[in-house]
């Protein structure tokens, strides 16, 4: 059976099932008696197993099978749900997720699931808690083929290969130096063929406390042990000989995987974005298209007979149908934000555990619908904001108690529709942003002088945290605080035509509000004429328009400005920035479109205002991607193409 065409479906459904597993486990963790959740998990695991088996993904099948056994025991009350079991099951789900993602990217690493399978098996056989996993599951491909060959060759020449896992003591200040010493000592004994993480990362201290080396040597274990023990602040965590069997029993399997990789590469390109559509919406569409066809024949009739009176009626009909069609198609593109929110309970659980904080996550408005394209893009910025709140915002339980707050912090994630926009709010009741710290940091980074600071409003100062490279965190943790972040969030949201606002009160909490347009595909725009060319400016960017005469424009240090109600407004001539070929005719009267880019206002000088219109955004294609100032193209009523200006990047 050629299973390739089902691969997309398999991936999609697997992800859904994994999501169910995650959610089920979370609710089970909160309420171990929840049989519904247990059944749900059981079903999801079972479906996953079945599908994986059909598709021939044996590892997934094996792991889910074992999970199923354990789940069965839980259901039959032969086993009692415990933290240990939930952690183990979560790990299994993570492993499954990795495998599924591995399949979708065509990156086919063999995952070592033996540990997990063994632990599950032990559980199942009732030896329960006693079993400690020997190590977390790891990617077997830690050693690539070249390194495997080295080890094999070494074996032939009486060299041994040892896997040396070294741990740096938590008090150690200069980890890189210690790591270097380990390298130096071991290299006296033999050759280090591999290090995880890579040497470069070790030098940059990009590792936690542990690293692994593979040493090819003729010496025995004791020598290695001594060599490592000599170094202070370093302890040997694991020392094991690596033996690789000759490939005698591998070829068959190898060949198979190679084939699979090939076919996966192809499918990877083909996996498309999909939207699941309610069948009634499709019926609706079908009806509308039917009506269109009827009206088309009527038009043909009119063409033959020349009855102009019925033409008006038909055109009206068509108008109604097209706007209905537009609405329905838009609705098809809309996806509930639930799809994004779904992943957060699990994420918050893991992070809060890691940070030793207690957090209650409150989700609201999951049913709020957003355009599919926005949904795909919004996830990363949200993850960022949530991490930010968990890491910098919410305090540890002790600190909270000391401030007479409730022990458990609250993180709210709220989505709701407001007019033509959707608001997504990430709110925590943590310590808030320390404005003094922001001030010092901004001055330190040379973004502002102390004098300028005095004249800035609190809001403007808070805005600094969106600047690139800005972090007030004193300690960089794994989760956030590396100073790359909020600027990326803002850039991303802006690129979606949205905005981020920030409110913060020391001691009470921080609130990020993301405002997004309901849809990206159709926008309201103002059409303007520059010389002979027509451009569309998104209405969302426009504050007002005004008619001026040429002599109102003044020159201040080479910059054209005008005074609008007592405020100086910098002007930009669209004909200049868009290099519009001049036709020579220069009107006395000009229009100024006042647009807003972040906090600043700028006047765009155009020749004529044509009017407001709903336009459908089309892409300019790959050849013209990322043109500064141009967001896309729109086809106007007369069939001509007009370009949509991107105010954010225009000047």
């Amino acid at each position: 059976m050629d299973t390739n065409e089902y691969l997309g479906l398999f991936l999609e459904e697997s992800r859904e099932n994994l999501q169910v597993l995650n959610e089920g486990l979370l609710s089970l963790e909160q309420d171990p008696e929840n049989e519904m959740a247990l059944n749900e998990i059981f079903r999801a695991a079972h479906t996953l197993k079945g599908m994986a088996a059909t598709m021939g993904f044996e590892q997934i099948t094996e792991l889910t099978h074992k999970m199923e056994n354990v789940l069965g025991k839980l259901r039959d009350k032969e086993l009692e749900f415990s933290r240990f079991i939930s952690d183990l099951l979560f790990k299994c789900v993570d492993a499954l997720e990795n495998m599924v993602e591995g399949i979708s990217t065509g990156n086919q690493n063999e995952f070592v699931i033996d540990d997990l399978v063994a632990s599950l098996k032990n559980l199942e056989e009732g030896q329960g808690q006693a079993v400690e996993e020997t190590s977390q599951y790891t990617v077997k491909d830690e050693l690539n083929e070249y390194e495997n060959n080295l080890i094999l060759k070494g074996q032939e020449q009486n060299y041994h290969t040892y896997k040396v896992v070294v741990e740096v003591s938590p008090q150690c200040v200069m980890k890189a130096v210690r790591a270097f010493m380990v390298f130096k000592n071991l290299e006296e004994l033999g050759e280090i063929i591999k290090s995880v993480p890579a040497v470069q990362d070790l030098e940059d201290e990009k590792f936690d406390r542990e690293f692994t080396l593979y040493l090819l040597t003729k010496e025995n274990e004791n020598k290695i042990r001594n060599a490592v023990d000599k170094i202070s602040e370093i302890s040997l965590k694991q020392l094991a000989e690596v033996k690789i069997q000759k490939e005698a029993n591998l070829p068959k399997e190898k060949k198979k995987t190679v084939n699979q990789v090939d076919s996966w590469d192809k499918t990877k390109i083909k996996t498309m974005q999909t939207v699941r559509v309610d069948i009634t919406k499709l019926d609706n569409l079908m009806n509308l298209v039917g009506e269109l066809v009827i009206n088309k024949t009527r038009l043909e009739q009119i063409m033959k007979t020349g009855q102009v009176t019925s033409l008006g009626e038909t055109v009206e009909q068509i108008e109604r149908i097209t706007s209905d069609l537009q609405n329905v198609v838009m609705k098809v593109r809309m996806v509930p934000i639930e799809q994004v929110f779904n992943r957060f309970p699990r994420m918050v659980r893991d992070f809060s555990k890691e940070l030793e904080k207690e957090v209650e996550l409150v989700l609201e408005g999951q049913e709020t619908e957003l355009d599919r394209t926005v949904i795909d893009e919004i996830s990363d910025p949200l993850v960022h904001l949530i991490r930010n709140s968990l890491d910098h915002g919410l305090e540890k339980p002790e600190e909270r108690l000391a401030q007479s707050k409730s022990r458990v912090g609250t993180l709210k994630l709220i989505a709701r529709q407001e007019g033509n926009s959707v608001l997504i709010i990430v709110e925590d009741d943590g310590q808030g942003i320390n404005i003094e710290k922001v001030k010092t940091k901004a001055v330190e980074n040379g973004m502002v002088t102390i004098k300028e600071l005095e004249q800035m409003s609190e809001k403007e100062i808070l805005d600094f945290i969106f600047a690139p490279g800005f972090s007030t965190a004193q300690q960089v943790t794994d989760i956030s605080g590396r100073g790359v972040g909020l600027d990326v969030v803002r850039a991303k949201i802006n690129s979606l035509n949205g905005n981020v606002f920030l409110e913060s009160q020391p001691g009470i909490g921080t609130k990020f509000t993301i405002k997004l347009p309901l849809t990206l595909a159709i926008i309201q725009a103002l059409l303007v004429k520059v010389e002979e060319e027509v451009y569309a400016i998104p209405l969302a960017n426009i504050d007002e328009t005004t008619l001026i005469e040429e002599d109102v424009i003044k020159n201040v240090q080479g910059q054209e400005v005008m005074v609008l109600r007592g405020k100086v407004l910098p002007l930009i001539r669209l004909s200049k920035v868009l290099e519009v070929p001049c036709t020579g005719k220069c009107g006395e009267e000009l229009y100024v479109v006042v647009v807003r880019k972040g906090e600043e206002q700028i006047g765009l000088v155009v020749d004529e205002l044509i009017g407001q219109q709903e336009i459908v955004i089309s892409s300019l294609g790959k050849l013209f991607s990322n043109l500064p100032g141009i967001a896309g193209a729109a086809i106007l009523g007369d069939g001509k193409v007009s370009l949509i200006l991107d105010i954010g990047t225009l000047f």
Partner: protein, 151 residues
């Protein structure tokens, strides 16, 4: 004998040819919207039945003299590596089969840049310049750019 089918067209004083597999359709010139901040050999974009398609001015690309639009002018819509582009040409002559053996590597032309030329084909008494369309459209560069963005 192995043959390939090409679309032959005229530009300046030469006759060129493009593999028919790269050609989606041939249309009459329509209104072109200039796109600012692009390379000057792009004349802009057109509306092709609701799709926005970029147009390359081939004469400009080859640094030839500008040709006037006439009754015979055409836009050849190409579809290469899933990228749709139109090229403006003076006139389209015909679709012909040429023998692969009749294609030679070029060494005679100095009218246009050599990298644009995939070969020169003899057909009856005519010489057709076969275009290396990826080079002409800079598709290799586009591909690289997107790679970088991904990386």
């Amino acid at each position: 004998m192995e043959q390939i089918q090409v679309v032959a067209f005229k530009l300046g004083n030469e006759e060129y040819a493009i593999d028919v597999m790269a050609v989606q359709e041939i249309i009459r010139p329509t209104a072109i919207t200039r796109v600012p901040r692009t390379k000057d050999f792009y004349s802009g974009v057109i509306n092709l039945r609701g799709n926005v398609v970029p147009i390359v001015n081939l004469a400009k690309r080859f640094n030839l003299e500008e040709v006037e639009l006439t009754e015979k002018s055409r836009i050849i819509i190409l579809n290469v590596n899933d990228i749709r582009v139109g090229i403006t040409v003076e006139s389209v002559t015909e679709v012909i089969n040429i023998n692969k053996d009749d294609i030679e590597t070029p060494n005679l032309t100095n009218v246009i840049d050599e990298k644009f030329i995939a070969g020169v084909a003899k057909y009856q008494e005519r010489l057709l310049i076969l275009l290396n369309i990826e080079e002409v459209l800079e598709l290799t560069e586009v591909a690289q750019d997107t790679e970088e963005i991904k990386g």
